[in-house]
């Protein structure tokens, strides 16, 4: 009997079909292709839920799946690797599939209101892009090897290019699209080296072992583990070092796609795209892909303390860095953009610091509340006739209550206020970083603590900028005519908001670790989901379970928890109180500064820091300088060199021969007598030569 796992490829194939239909037939459809996208993503969602239920053991005996389905390139010779495409379904995959297809469905529905109702042109292209985007992300999620992951990772990049640049008639979007692709391509360059390196090192890129007819095909994290145990050497490096190198190379792609420092600059620009696309990019697809990849191959990263430290530091730093920039932004979507960067920083921090569950948890909750916030922002933007400046808004609370209350739910989640989703996950991230930082010996522990400190500080800024945004947008008096009389939005905008609003308030409940620890109730469902009910966790055969990861973390980089303040419970309470307190502090500060009827700008109080922050620490400038100030002149110089020197030599050779030719041709005077004279003289010379040399023989 065909089970859910046989239909997993269809989860990605359905949106792909929607892509084709929308592209070629979209213009003949009443909603310009949206129908296909909605049907396909709904189908994907149903299949994803079915898959998740199967993984949970509710609809079948098999609870995991890992098969190679398609041989992309067969390596004939012994030393040639074979490259395959396959499907891996484990709890992480199932969870992510549900999230992605849910958000994709909601974004499709929302697009009806945001794009169709606004009378946009080129909608088939838009829905085709959305379909391909969803398809690539879903396929990326269930990839069973790193090459397949890379391939779909790249397709995700392509789709982001197409969608961010959707409004190609203006100047901004194409430029932003180019930047998004180029910056992530720079990261992917390292990723690709990593992929090639992994295949060259292990001969396989499987995330988890595959049971094939010919025997078990091992996964590369497992092979790496063995290699480290046996102290093998690769390409002249020790196993440990080599794994770190590979891990960091792959991390390049993660940093690019997940918009981590220093490759985050594309993401704020990507706000040029339509808002539903921003929601999709930020919540569930492109940006999530990076973090998901680290979680996917966590068994590999857990082997390298250096890589973990780098991940944690990048994460912590990005969380703080982006949050500070979010404080001074004027535009609604810009604030959200920086909050996205910051929140993905938390996930990286969690992964680096050994908090696998915390990272996945935050990925889940963030997907919900960030999608909500973007869609809410989209709703506001519709109402404001596509003016995004928060200083032109104000007082929208009463005019658009659905949007306001759902947006507030999302904002509370983002700020990390109990009991909204973000509180639980962010708290767990920080808690894990703290206990692992204290418990881990040496530099690694210190790095964790440093990253923790930055993450903790970022909580305050998060609370502040989130509620600065809420107050400026919805509270106080309306500051413009449009804000006084906003355009109403329809059900297709409100329905997704409502779904997500409820989600943002409640999804945190799936893993209330603090409550579990305090009360002893087993309500840390996500933890159990990733760990498994049995001893050793399931699915054991894949070795992608939490239990295995914890073992690795303990054995190889020696990441262990320790509780600095009393026992586990006290530490937990203190940590939670600390982060909640900071978040509330930020919220209250925002309220005192901006929660008034006629708020004014306070950015001048920042003094010199204002310019720094509004210019995003001159990150864009420096990267633009790198591109235009260094690369372009270098290219010009190369061109000059090519035209002048290399081609100059070629032309020089040709002019020398042309010149000598032009001189020699003077001999050809056209006068027969001269020719005859020359011939005669030559004959004389020849004869003389023969005489002098004594004949031919």
């Amino acid at each position: 009997m065909a089970g859910a796992f046989d239909f997993v490829p269809a989860i990605a194939a359905l949106p792909l079909l929607a892509f084709v239909i929308a592209l070629f037939a979209g213009q003949y459809m009443p909603k310009r292709g949206a129908e296909a996208g909605i049907a396909a993503t709904a189908g994907s969602l149903i299949l994803s839920i079915w898959t998740a239920l199967t993984v949970a053991g509710m609809t079948g005996s098999e609870t995991f799946y890992n098969e190679n389905l398609y041989t992309w390139v067969a390596g004939v010779a012994d030393s040639a690797v074979t490259l395959r495409l396959g499907v891996l379904v484990d709890p992480l995959t199932a969870l992510m599939l549900v999230i992605v297809s849910l958000i994709a469905l909601l974004v499709h529905v929302f697009s009806l209101g945001y794009m169709n109702d606004e009378g946009e042109t080129g909608l088939p292209r838009y829905y085709a892009g959305l379909g391909l985007f969803t398809a690539s992300m879903l396929a990326f999620v269930f990839s069973n090897n790193i090459l397949m992951a890379f391939m779909f990772f790249e397709l995700v990049g392509l789709c982001s290019y197409l969608l961010i640049g959707f409004w190609f008639r203006e100047d901004g979007p194409p430029s932003a699209a180019k930047k998004a692709f180029l910056v992530t391509r720079f990261g992917d360059y390292f990723f690709l080296i990593g992929v090639v390196g992994i295949f060259a090192t292990f001969g396989t890129g499987l995330f988890a072992p595959v049971e094939a007819a010919s025997g078990t095909m091992e996964s590369f994290p497992h092979m790496a583990e063995m290699a480290i145990e046996e102290s093998e050497t690769f390409f002249g490096y020790g196993a440990q070092t080599w794994m770190t190198i590979l891990g960091l190379l792959v991390l390049g792609g993660v940093v690019g796609k997940s918009a981590q420092f220093p490759l985050h600059t594309w993401l704020p620009d990507a706000m040029e795209g339509p808002t539903p696309v921003s929601a999709l990019i930020h919540a569930a697809t492109m940006v999530a892909a990076g973090v998901y990849l680290v979680a996917r191959m966590y068994g590999f990263y857990a082997l390298s303390p250096q890589a973990l430290a780098v991940i944690a530091l990048i994460g912590g730093f990005t969380a703080l860095f982006a949050a500070t920039m979010g404080v001074v932004k004027q535009e609604l979507k810009q604030v959200l953009a920086y909050s996205t960067i910051s929140q993905y920083g938390y996930m990286m921090l969690a992964l680096g610091a050994g908090g696998y569950v915390a990272a996945v948890f935050h990925l889940t909750t963030h997907a919900i509340f960030k999608a909500l916030l973007f869609l809410g922002a989209g709703s506001v933007i519709i109402a404001m006739h596509h003016n995004e400046n928060m200083w032109d808004m104000g007082g929208l609370k009463d005019k658009m209550p659905v949007t306001y209350w759902t947006f507030l739910s999302g904002s509370l989640a983002l700020a990390g206020i109990v009991p909204f989703a973000g509180f639980w996950s962010k708290d767990e991230v920080l808690f894990e970083a703290l206990i692992h930082g204290v418990g881990t010996e040496g530099t690694l522990g210190a790095m964790f603590l440093l990253a923790y400190a930055m993450g903790l500080l970022a909580v305050f800024f998060t609370g502040f900028y989130t509620f600065r945004m809420v107050y400026l947008t919805f509270h106080g008096n309306a500051r413009t005519d449009v804000a006084r009389d906003p355009e109403p939005v329809r059900w297709n905008v409100k329905a997704p908001l409502a779904v997500l609003g409820i989600g943002a308030a409640t999804v945190g409940l799936v893993n209330m670790a603090p409550v579990e620890k305090l009360t002893g109730l087993h309500i840390d469902f996500l933890h159990q989901w990733l760990d498994g009910p049995e001893e050793g966790g399931w699915p054991d055969a894949l070795s992608t379970d939490l239990h295995h990861y914890e073992e690795l973390l303990h054995n190889v980089p020696h990441v262990d928890p320790a509780y600095p303040i009393g026992g586990e419970q006290t530490t937990l309470i203190v940590s939670a109180a600390l982060s909640l307190g900071l978040a509330l502090g930020g919220v209250l500060l925002a309220r005192s500064l901006y929660g008034v009827d006629e708020p004014v700008e306070h950015t001048d109080k920042l003094g010199g820091a204002k310019a720094l922050l509004t210019h995003n620490y001159y990150q864009d400038e420096s990267q633009v300088w790198l591109a235009q100030g260094v690369t372009v002149p270098l290219a010009r110089a190369a061109d000059k060199f090519d035209q002048g020197v290399v081609d100059g030599v070629v032309n020089g050779v040709s002019s020398v021969s042309l010149f000598t030719g032009s001189r020699f041709r003077r001999i050809q005077s056209g006068v027969v007598s001269n020719y005859a004279a020359l011939m005669t003289l030559s004959l004389v010379l020849l004869l003389v030569a023969f005489v002098v040399l004594g004949g031919v023989a």
Binding site: N651, S662, A677, T680, L681, V684, L687, V688, V691
Partner: protein, 143 residues
């Protein structure tokens, strides 16, 4: 103008030195070479033998020779062709008025109009070739 022969005044004596040099060298070579006595012909009619050789009847000739029948035929054809060629070259084209060489006693009686027409034709044809040539070499040289 008469067609009386005159002493050549346009003689280029400098070039003539080359001919003189050639003679000197050849004379030197011949006179210093060591040549044995000639073998001479066997008894018999030389002319008859030549005739036989031309028609490949070597056994009838008294003096040694080779067969030349094919060469004989070929030369006959060549002569014919040369004659045709000469006539073709010499013939005026149809549109030109036929002026016989004898009628005005020499080469110099052609109408100016015809000749200048020819001239300009030839010029334009050759001139274009020239220009194209020059153009292409300039292209190559300048770039």
């Amino acid at each position: 103008m008469t067609s009386r022969p005159r002493l050549a005044t346009d003689v280029n004596y400098v070039n003539g030195l080359a001919a003189l040099a050639l003679f000197v060298v050849m004379a030197y070579v011949f006179m210093t070479s060591d040549v044995s006595a000639p073998a001479g012909f066997a008894d018999g009619s030389i002319v008859a033998s030549i005739g036989y050789a031309m028609f490949d009847m070597l056994d009838q000739g008294a003096i040694e020779a080779e067969g030349f029948l094919v060469a004989f035929i070929v030369i006959a054809l060549v002569l014919d062709a040369a004659l045709d060629g000469a006539v073709m070259l010499a013939r005026r084209e149809d549109d030109e008025q036929s002026v016989t060489a004898l009628a005005d006693g020499g080469f110099l009686s052609r109408t100016k109009e015809t000749s200048s027409e020819r001239r300009s034709d030839g010029d334009s044809l050759l001139g274009r070739n020239d220009g194209e040539d020059a153009g292409s070499s300039d292209d190559g040289g300048d770039d």
